[in-house]
Symmetry: C2
């Protein structure tokens, strides 16, 4: 894949997988202590990653699971967020202001916080009750691996995911699939980026367990890193307003999930050709795992998206636009 350092990716995958023992030990300790519910709390890109994990969990566990925006919950509270809760958070830099603040606020109230941090000795890792270092530089799919190991282990301990060990063993093979998926997706990535990078506006549609990825790619990549105007909407909600905007030459990208919400994407897919000539369909069904059981497939839709869209497609937008993904004019450049 263009602009992809496979060697270092493989190394990072190994470093990530090495955290399995730590993650499981922490999960087992927490299960032993007991907890009444799970709160996923984060900001921006890390919030987007929590979304699919939350989405998968609520279908599989009788433990109540909640998703909150860090900056908001610190002001509003949530009656379910108590000393018996388990908070799961993450920050790549380990310094995200709102995430650090909410972690401090939780700890002061005696609420346990499990944090994934990109950096050792960051404010977040120092504050959190339990922290695991994400040794990978910038690949959300490794954070998904860690989050799914952690949460599925909790479910396993709650007698809700008996095949945890098989799942976690097979997760070791995910990174090499994700490398292959990048290559398989690259021709389509080139086509999409070539058309869409120069559009004044583009619409992205997808939902269910990959909504977090659609949200994050449009906001954190296209808007933040490419300064492209976007609209992101779920396949379910598309028909309650946004559809009226679509014209022959509106650039639209639909990402079809490969799980139980797929038929909602198919409804969009049926509609688009009737009114639009400039749409693309990315079908996650085409990306097949080599050694991961079908029973685990639905859990892992978001990591596929992260690899092919968040990474591969981002690189091709950058290539086409000549606009570096690293330029910010405001974020962390000024006080507000």
């Amino acid at each position: 894949m263009y602009n992809f350092d496979e060697k270092s990716y493989r190394k990072e995958a190994e470093l990530t997988y090495e955290t399995r023992t730590d993650i499981e030990q922490i999960a087992d300790m927490i299960s032993k202590e007991g907890f009444s519910n799970i709160f996923f709390i984060a900001s921006g890109g890390s919030l987007a990653i929590m979304n699919p994990v939350h989405y998968v969990l609520k279908q599989r566990t009788a433990i109540p699971v909640y998703l909150e925006v860090a900056a908001e919950v610190i002001h509003t509270g949530n009656k379910e967020l108590t000393k018996d809760s388990l908070v799961i958070t993450a920050s790549k830099s380990g310094t995200t202001k709102e995430t650090v603040a909410v972690t401090k606020w939780c700890i002061e109230q005696g609420i346990r916080v499990f944090a994934l941090c990109g950096k050792m000795d960051s404010p977040l890792s120092q504050l959190a009750t339990y922290s695991v270092i994400g040794k990978a530089k910038d690949a959300p799919e490794f954070e998904y691996m860690q989050l799914f190991m952690f949460t599925m282990r909790l479910l396993h301990n709650n007698c809700e995911f008996p095949d945890y060990n098989r799942f976690a063993d097979q997760l070791a093979t995910l990174p090499k699939d994700l490398i292959r998926f990048r290559d398989e997706f690259e021709p389509q990535a080139m086509k999409i980026a070539e058309v869409c990078h120069k559009e004044p506006y583009q619409m992205w549609i997808g939902g269910g367990s990959i909504w977090g990825e659609i949200y994050s790619f449009t906001m954190c990549v296209l808007e933040e890193m490419q300064w492209n105007r976007t609209k992101a909407v779920t396949s379910a909600e598309f028909f309650h307003g946004t559809l009226e905007l679509v014209e022959k030459d509106t650039p639209v990208v639909l990402v079809k999930n490969d799980d139980n919400t797929r038929m909602l994407d198919e409804r969009v897919e049926n509609f688009l050709p009737k009114v639009c000539d400039k749409y693309f369909v990315i079908d996650l069904h085409n990306f097949r795992f080599s050694q991961i059981d079908d029973q685990f497939r639905a859990i892992l839709m978001a990591p596929i998206c992260s690899a092919i869209i968040g990474d591969c497609l981002s690189a091709h937008y950058e290539k086409c636009s000549g606009h570096s993904l690293d330029i910010r004019r405001y974020y962390r450049q000024m006080e507000y």
Copy 2:
């Protein structure tokens, strides 16, 4: 206010308030039966209305509350959604496909559904365990009145809202405040509509308990009814991507909440003048109730938004653009 039939609004307000007794009787019956949690489930505009109610409730009740998209939850399920749950739904027409389907699905599983329907004898009202008719034509603020009477009564029965009767009594005075707010807001509505209706793109920012209104105004009014391209983002999340899009001449509207998340809006308000010349701030603090206690104010931010933005501002967009709010080119015009 322009294009506002005050007389019929007052009549509809009365008809709405007359449902109080029915609503309370149903709530009391459900409280007596008992329930383990509350699920708000709907689609599009009705989902947008559930959002603020869910947001207010999660800060005030130890009863677990969840918000789900009708079209999705029917495919995914949710482990917390059981026979002991109480589902709250709504549909103006009483025919919204996904909402009718999810209600049928719930009833088949023995899950109780409370439905607000715009029409008597609609498929939704016939299916639901309990239904209350919204006699108002098209004013979400009346649905808010009914939903808050119903849910706050449940909290009252759960010893979490002792002042329910005072609150419900005072709610009777809300409509006349909302009429006055329309008049007070109209000069600003004219300015915003005049500038923004001809823009190829506009950004709307707001969050906390009014996020549903921002979501709904951009998607269900600007996109669906005016065919204007929009980006809606919460004040908290604005700084995690979307801010990079703002330039001197980007049209931006910030709606400042008047509750515990207000400081997140203030952060956006501090940022905007540094980079943008074409922004508007709608401050909900300026709209003061005449006979509703301050202690209830935070509950009622969304109805204020609905009156001034959803209704008054919509009318002024229509006036400026000459594009009727009633035209649809696809929605319910074709099969998909």
